[in-house]
Every structure is written in C-alpha cells, then in structure tokens.
Amino acid sequence: MSSGFKQIVGDGLRFKPLPVDKHGIHLAARTCASDARDALRKARSEGLFMETVTAVDHLEDGKLELFYLLGNYERPERTLLSILLDRSNPKIPSISDIFPGVTWHERETGEFFGIDFENSLDSRRLLLPDDLEGYPLRKDFKPRKLPPVGRSKPFKYEQASDEKSGFVLNLGPQHPATHGVLRVILHMDGEYVLEADPILGYGHRMQEKIAENMTYTQMLPYTARMDYLSALHYNHAWVMAVERLCGFEVPERAEYIRVITSELNRISSHLLWYGAFLLDLGGFTPFLHGFADRERILDLLEMVTGSRLTYCYYRFGGVANDVDDEFLKKTLEFVAHLRSRLPSYHDLVTGNVIFEKRTQGVGVIDRDTAACYGITGPCLRGSGVGFDIRKAFPYSIYADLDFDIPVGENGDCYSRYLVRMQEIEESLKIIEQAIENIPEGKIRSKVPKTIKAPEGIAAVSVESSRGNLCVILVSKGDKKPYRAKFRVPSFSNLSIFPKLARKELIADTLAILGSFDLVIPEIDR
C-alpha cells in the first residue's frame, strides 16, 4: 500500500474529512468486505446516491482496492469507501439489493478486475465480449491477438424454444432510435414491453486502460472521444483532475475562457438533443432548426479551438489559445440571436398537444429511485432535485457567476425537456456575464514539460451536458496515471431504463430513451 493512500484512508470504519480543494473527497474510510454492506445500507438510509463503483489493482501488494464513491444530492459532500480485497480470490457480497442501480457498476468492475460480487442480481458481462479471457484492468493483463475478421457464416434459424419466450424485439444496434450503437432487447407482450435489457459495449475501446499507458498530456485528446457532444467538459474534467493533483494554478482569464467555451458546448449539446428527442417522437422539423443554430456554435468554437466536434482545447494550467475580441463579439451576437430564437422553439414544441400527451407522465423518476441509480444532470433535475456540480462543488469561476439551476416538478419526460430548455437560457446568462467580466492577463501558467503527478487520489467532477462527470485519478508518482476512472453520467442514467421501460408501450420506451440524452460512446468508453 502506497503512502499516498494512507493519508486519505485510515484503518477501520473511520471517516476523516479532507481538504476538498485537493482531492474532491470529503470523507474517506476503509472497511472490510464483510462490513461493507452495513456501511452502505446506512449510506442508503441517509439518502446518499451511488456515484460509482470502481477498483485499483495494487499488483505489488497482491491486493485489489475496491472503491464505492457516494455522493449527496442535498449537501456538497462526497464519501469514498475503500475495501481491500485479496488479489487471488477477490470476493465481496453484492449490494445490488440495497442500491438496485449499482448492478451495472458491479458488472463492469467485476469483468474488468475479476472481482466476484456474490449474490448479484445479474452477473453477466456488461461491456466486454463474452469470449475475452482475463481481466483487462489488472496490471498483469496480457492482451491476446485478435483473429482476422472474415465473412461470417450464414445464420440458421432456431425455432422458438417455448411459447413463453414470447415476442422479442431487438432495438439496435442498427436502429434509428438508439442514437448510436446501443442494443436493447425488448421482451414484449403485444406492444407493451415486459422487460428491457440494454446490451452495451459495441463501442467499447477500453479508454481507461489506454489512459494507463499514456502520459497525462497524451491522454487529453482521447477524452474528447468519449462524449463527442460535450468534448470540452471531458477536457475540463481531465485537466482539472491533473491540476488538483499536481497543484497547478490556472490564470483567471483562462478560467473565464473555459467557462465561456464549455457553456457554448453545453448549449450545442442541448440543441442537438432537442432535435433528436423530437425526432424520436416523430416530429422532424425541430431537428433541423436546432442544427442550424448549433452550426453557429460550432463555427464559434472552431474560431478558438480549431476543431468542430472533438475539441482538445484546454491545457494543464490554462487553455491552448487566447480568444480575440472578434470571438467575444460574435459570441455576444450569438447569445442575442439564440435568445430571439428560443421563443420559436417553444412555439413549435412546448405547447403542442401531441407532444404533451406523449411526454407528460411518461418515464417518471422520483428522487429516491434517482438516488438508487445515481441519476445526475438534467434527468435528475427534472425530478425536482437541484443538484448541479456547478453549484454543489463550484469549480472554475462558477461561484462568482449569477445563474439558477432549473428544476422540474414531475420527473417525467416533459420535465426533463423543460429543464434542458431552461438550461440553455441559463447558459446564455453565464456566457454573457463571463464575457462582460473577462479580465486581461495570461492564459496559461507555467507547468513542467513532463508532468509527474504526486502520489495520491483525486476525484474531480464537472457538470457535463448530461450530468455529473467525475474523473477519479490515482497516481503513484509516475508520468502516467496509475488508474484513471471516468464516471460518466449517461452510464448511470441509462441504468434506470429497464426499470422505467417495464409495462410501457414501445412508443413510450423510446420517448424515455430519447429524454435521457444518451451518448453511447460515453457509456461504452
């Protein structure tokens, strides 16, 4: 066990507050496998939500360290529960009965590290192919050579084994409504869905293993490829995690530029969602209207970042290029333009009777269920919980800005829609204020050429367009991260889908799926 960890995690169930500005973790505790269930049951009764489950392989100690990261919707506090497991026979009782939503996290951690979650509700593989041997995130994993891909043999029909298997509909991976390579197996009774089973991993690239083999700087462009619709938020989370760990300063002007660009990115993502959601409901004009305005954002971001989709613009201790007055002027013009356009967006969609009929009361998430599944972002705020990382753990300059967190009332698709539309307005407000107050000065502080992060762990969150994006970075003082975990919002948000889809019409399940604003490569990583 390295000394960096001992600072944070004590022995036994002993909570120890830490300076949040460094690690992003308020309480950290170590417990043993047999006590974990009790501790987590207590956490559940206190209303904490499960942010993620992950692990680190300490090869030289012969141990696997399992982390449960818990957040709180009401208070800005984050708890890290750590459990040391024996590397040769890692076993821990599953907590999927306490936090139903944790099943997916356990499945992922199980297949990556070979940890056996006993009595799990579902122990199938989640992201990895069934024929993969070994556990890829263990340090001694040796990838095998893949056989060349040839033309597959013609398929043979199998007769339905029994009547009970019923009508099974495959939604995806090649389906217009799944927005990427997601596959959902629907067991149907007529047009009602009995059971929905999402199959992930079609776009899995093992980004977290890639991160372990890259220097901090080399990894930066990869982050944009996870969620290509809010690439700047991924940039931001990654650079912030490294900055916190290494203690780099960021000049104020750079922080302003970061906020302006990442809010622009948020608007562009929401505009695309606005169109895609209505497309799922069968209306296809909003899509093109949203796209036309999104195009202007892409032009603006192209001016400063040089790229239009997968940006790599933030740097450790600042940003890559300074913005000029023309960009700021044009951005202000765009803010005014979008303000004038938003009423027509609402005219087209918000008051529409069919739209209301299709979305109101569909896919209702209440606060407690949201906590079980770790829902964050607009999906959570639609349920009336005002949890937003920008307010809860104010990073960058968000603490100095005046903006509201829109919340919905009913937790249905309609509320989620309204929350996102209001968020666009709030983002416009933020951009305006930031442009008004942007100071002159440096855009990058001096950082060493080769970054060696000191030993330690940092869990740093940003509010991406889809919710709480958390980078958990474990360093052992090397040039490369020892372990980098991306806690992605869509992963948790989608994990509630099987529950919401039950006993719904197929049309409604697609409305629910659309209202989540999923980006599949982000889930698959």
Partner: protein, 322 residues
C-alpha cells in the same frame, strides 16, 4: 369504340396523376425543406426540378431484395393491392364538369370500399415480410383502420344529407346550388372530423404509426426495396391525392370557383387539391407522432361522438329550415 374512349380517358387521368404524384414528392421536399431552414433538392436540374424523375429511374433499376423468410406470394401481392386500390379510386373522381372516368351513383361508397381495401395491402405486407418491425407495423395499421374508419364514414353523412346523393358530380352540383356555395361552412364539424380521419387514412403524420421510423425502422415496408417499395410509395401519394379530391368535392365545392378560367375547367379543382396537399405537408413539418392507443382514444372518444353530433345537428337544422 366506347371501350377505346374509356381507355383514352384512363390513360390521360393516370398519366396526369402520375406526373402530379412525382411532383407532389418534389413539392413536399421543397415545402418541408423551406420550413426547416434548408433548400430541399437542388442538384438534379434547375432547382432540383428533375429530382423526381431521377428518383423514379433509380427505384426502377434498384435491386429487388426479397428476404428468404418472406411468404413469397403474399409478399408479391401486398404492394399491388395497395396500388390497385389507390389507382382504381381515381375512376370516379370528377375533375371538372362532365369529366369522370365512371360517373356512378355510389361514388363515395366506392371510394370508401377501395380505401379500406388498401389497408389490407399494408397488413398483408407486414405479415408476409416475416420481420418483426414489419409485423408490428402491419398490426398497427389494422389498429388504425378500426380507429378512424367509422369516424370517416360518419363525417360525410352530413354531406350526403345535404346533397341527397352519393354521386360525386351530384354532390358538387348540389353545393353550387346551395346557399353557401361550399359545404365547408354548414358542415365545419364534419370537415374537421374528415380532415383528421383523412390524415389517418393515408398514414401521414401525426398518424404515421404503421411506418413510424424511429420506432419500427420503416414499419410495414421494412423489407421492401426497389420497385416494390416504389409501388407502396406511389399508392401512398395517390391515396393522398384521392383524399384531397374527396375533401375538395365534398366540402370545397369541387371544380367551381369565384370566376371561370377559360380553357382550364379543372383550374380551381387543382388549386384546391394542392391546398389540401400543402396542408398535409404543413402538418408533417409541424407535429410529432401520436401513440397508437392515443389514436384509438381520439377516434373513438372524440371523432365518433363529434360526427354523430354533426349528423343530429344537420338533421335538426335541415328539418327546421326546410
């Protein structure tokens, strides 16, 4: 001799309608394009004017993929059923004074009969494709038929009462001699019910459930390609034109207009039909899709009572005033 004359008439009507179908697709893409801040087809010919022809040629030469599990005979027959019922409906439409291929006295009933037949094509194509999306699409089509068909039939009873005939030419004549000149004004309730049912009849947005792209990929014609797909497409657009014609004949006074355009007896008829067609496109560019239990509720709980009320209203007013 008579037979030859009939054949010539058929050829003229068919040719003209086919041309209109081709350019209705062009019109649709242009109208919706401009509603969506884009241009629509621009590449083939000036302003994309040759686009429909290019599309037709492409579809004609495309490979015809017939899936192995499909029920071949039914699979072949389904698009033909749709096409035949749509094209045959054209026979009774009076495009202008004294011009209809067949001036029969049950014109309206004939149209209803054939349009119901068209949904058989849809249901059968869904069934025979042996694909799940197509299957669901076909089922949805049958659900749709039982939702709006009664409302559609009842919505025109008011018109029949006022005109005293099922013959389409007679209905137009009766309108010309009525005090309002068009039945839209006394029959506005019937008109409303008819328009909603008309959208459902032709499987257009917001009732495009059988082909709901984002739910069922392409619905009942998922497995169809090339020319077979084109036949469905043709049937759908001819169906739209037929329904627009019925709307024009029963509610908007057919070929009559505020003034006579010399040499073009069908001038007003075409204008009015295109108003309907434009309405179709406008709705398509505006509305999202209904869910299909909602469509059923709409048909049974709103449209049928409204149509019945319209009948009672028409009867009462007629017996008081007459």
């Amino acid at each position: 001799m008579e037979l030859l004359w009939i054949l010539v008439k058929i050829l003229i009507v068919f040719g003209v309608v086919m041309l209109h179908v081709a350019y209705a697709t062009y019109f649709e893409r242009k109208v919706i394009g401009h509603m969506q801040v884009r241009m629509g087809p621009m590449r083939v010919g000036p302003h994309g004017l040759l686009q429909p022809i290019a599309d037709g040629i492409k579809l004609f030469f495309k490979e015809d993929v017939i899936p192995t599990p499909a029920d071949k005979q039914v699979f072949y027959a389904a698009p033909l059923i749709c096409l035949i019922s749509a094209v045959s409906s054209l026979a009774v439409i009076p495009f202008f004074e004294g011009f209809a291929i067949a001036n029969i006295n049950i014109g309206l009933l004939y149209i209803f009969a054939l349009s119901s037949l068209a949904s058989y094509g849809v249901v059968l194509s869904g069934w025979s494709s042996n694909s799940k999306y197509a299957f669901l699409g076909g089922l949805r089509s049958s659900a749709q038929v039982i939702s709006y068909e009664i409302a559609m039939g009842l919505s025109l009873v008011g018109v029949m009462m006022m005109a005293g005939s099922l013959n389409l030419t007679d209905i137009v004549h009766a309108q010309m001699s009525s005090s309002f000149k068009i039945y839209l004004i006394p029959q506005f309730l019937g008109f409303f019910v008819f328009v909603v049912a008309m959208l459902a009849e032709t499987n257009r947005t917001p009732f495009d459930l059988p082909e709901a792209e984002t739910e069922l990929v392409a619905g009942y014609f998922t497995e169809y390609s090339g020319m077979r797909f084109a036949l469905f497409f043709l049937a759908e657009y001819i169906g739209m034109i037929i329904m627009s014609c019925i709307g024009v004949i029963c509610f908007l006074g057919g070929w009559s207009g505020p003034f006579h355009v010399p040499g073009l007896p069908f001038f007003w008829f075409v204008i009015k039909v295109y108003l309907f067609i434009f309405f179709y496109y406008w709705v398509r560019a505006t509305l999202p899709r209904y869910r299909y239990d909602q469509l059923m509720a709409l048909g049974w709980k709103v449209l049928i009572p409204l149509a019945l009320f319209n009948i009672v209203l028409t009867g009462t007013i007629k017996s008081i005033s007459g």
